[in-house]
């Protein structure tokens, strides 16, 4: 909408101040709505993937040194563009270049692994170095774009780490994801400018419940006991902070828990091998569904009352 050069002339003429110029550019930059921004981001992502695949498909014709030079030219170029746009007050463009830089770093790690024939746990190395090297970008970013990529990368890396180093245990996943969720929650509450907090809170919560579902369905008495405690404890915390959406989510998981307990006990006492047992099972299932719906409605009522 507004040209930088025209605004420069207005600043020189003393019609607007340099601060106002920045504000106008920032306003101009942020306009366009969610769909346009999402499409823009998708475009950048596609270009990044395109560059990576172009280099990958032609890599045998390019010498190793040239590959590394091109790689660093792309890295410095993306970082330079982010800084240049930021200094011009075009924050939105700068944020997109940060995403490009994030993707280029991942591609660059892959390239170094191939050129130097690195062996061992390559995927672990790639993910670990990727999130560690791009961590500073989270502090530079003012929008969530980089965090949308960085946080899932970090959560997946942790899952890989836990599997690779034989420290696998779903309890550990639950503890780590719960801690990350709490960290994200604290950041979004007390440091709202640090946008990674909100993304971390949402993604860690998703990862936590994903693991919890698997944990509940493990059909094991210890898992059922621990998951019941988790659901009770978290429900109490959510209720205290009036996070009714999460309480309703816990009610659904309580339904899953009862279902899992029922399958577990049914298998133990042979409930599914007799006609009467099957009838009781059917009645219990219907009661379970009705119970979850009713409970959710009660919470909704309380939510409206407190609103």
């Amino acid at each position: 909408m507004f040209k930088v050069k025209q605004l420069d002339k207005l600043v020189k003429a003393g019609i607007i101040t340099a601060e106002q110029q920045k504000q106008i550019l920032s306003f101009d930059d942020s306009s366009g709505g969610f769909v346009m921004r999402a499409l823009n981001l998708l475009g950048i992502f596609t270009i990044g993937v395109g560059v990576i695949s172009l280099v990958a498909s032609n890599w045998e014709y390019i010498g190793d040194n040239l590959k590394l030079i091109v790689m660093f030219a792309l890295l410095f170029g993306a970082a330079g563009m982010a800084v240049s746009n930021k200094l011009k007050g075009q924050d939105n463009r700068a944020e997109k270049w940060l995403v490009v830089l994030f993707l280029f770093v991942g591609a660059a790690i892959g390239l170094v692994i191939q050129i130097y024939q690195l062996s061992g746990n390559i995927m672990h190395l790639l993910f670990a170095l990727w999130w560690a090297a791009t961590l500073p970008l989270l502090f530079a970013a003012k929008k969530k774009y980089v965090a949308w990529f960085w946080v899932p990368l970090f959560l997946v890396w942790y899952a890989m780490y836990a599997f690779d180093y034989k420290t696998f245990g779903l309890e550990k996943f639950l503890v780590v994801y719960a801690a990350l969720y709490a960290g994200g929650w604290l950041l979004s509450k007390y440091k709202p400018d640090f946008v990674v907090g909100e993304v971390l809170r949402r993604d860690a919560c998703f990862a936590f419940y994903l693991v919890l579902a698997g944990y509940i369905l493990w059909l094991n008495s210890l898992h059922l006991t621990i998951s019941a405690l988790i659901l009770l404890l978290t429900s109490g915390v959510y209720h205290y902070f009036k996070d009714y959406g999460k309480v309703r989510l816990n009610i659904k998981f309580a339904g899953l828990w009862v279902f899992s307990l029922y399958i577990y006990l049914g298998g133990k006492i042979g409930l599914f091998s007799t006609g009467i047992g099957l009838i009781i099972s059917g009645v219990l299932l219907i009661a379970l569904v009705k119970g979850v719906v009713k409970w959710s409605k009660l919470i909704k009522k309380e939510e409206k009352k407190n609103a």
Binding site: W59, E60, L68, F72, L75, F76, A79, A82, V83, K86, L87, L98, L101, F102, V105, A108, I109, V112, I113, Q114, Y116, Q117, L118, S119, G120, I122, L129, A132, A133, T134, P136, L137, F139, A140
Partner: protein
């Protein structure tokens, strides 16, 4: 001003980390001396995976006198590894390496106490590219 430099520092830090990491690898590779280790036990389901081949090191047929004390440092090398090749040449290399009449070896850069780095893959003593082109 400090804010501006802080932003520049944060944005360029990932690039610097990459530069330091790559330089460190290149430096370590140059520090070691070349040793040749035979390959064996190719897993038919895993050997060829797109643009790399997976290998197992054959210590029984490797000349251990090239290492200090005449002992092969099996632990330092690990049992298995990957060697990256262009995708369109991978199949031909796979065939050449599988051929029991051929001898496949990897030249590593090795220094005691450091991670070994694969430098070249040899088939019958010559570079794998030449061996593949011959077939």
């Amino acid at each position: 001003m400090l804010k501006k430099y802080g932003y520049v520092g944060l944005v360029f830090l990932p690039v610097m980390i990459m530069l330091v990491w790559m330089t460190e690898i290149a430096h370590q590779r140059n520090q070691g001396r070349e040793v040749v280790v035979r390959l064996r036990g190719y897993d038919p389901w895993d050997l060829l995976s797109g643009h790399y081949i997976s290998y197992w090191l054959d210590w029984d047929n490797t000349d251990c006198t090239q290492f200090e004390g005449g002992l092969c440092p099996k632990l330092a090398f690990g049992g298995a590894g990957r060697f990256y090749v262009p995708e369109n040449k991978a199949q031909a290399l796979d065939k050449a390496v599988r051929d029991t009449n051929n001898t496949a070896e990897i030249v590593f850069s090795y220094k005691e106490g450091f991670k070994p780095y694969a430098l070249r893959l040899l088939v019958n003593g010559e570079s794998w590219e030449r061996a593949v082109d011959k077939n």
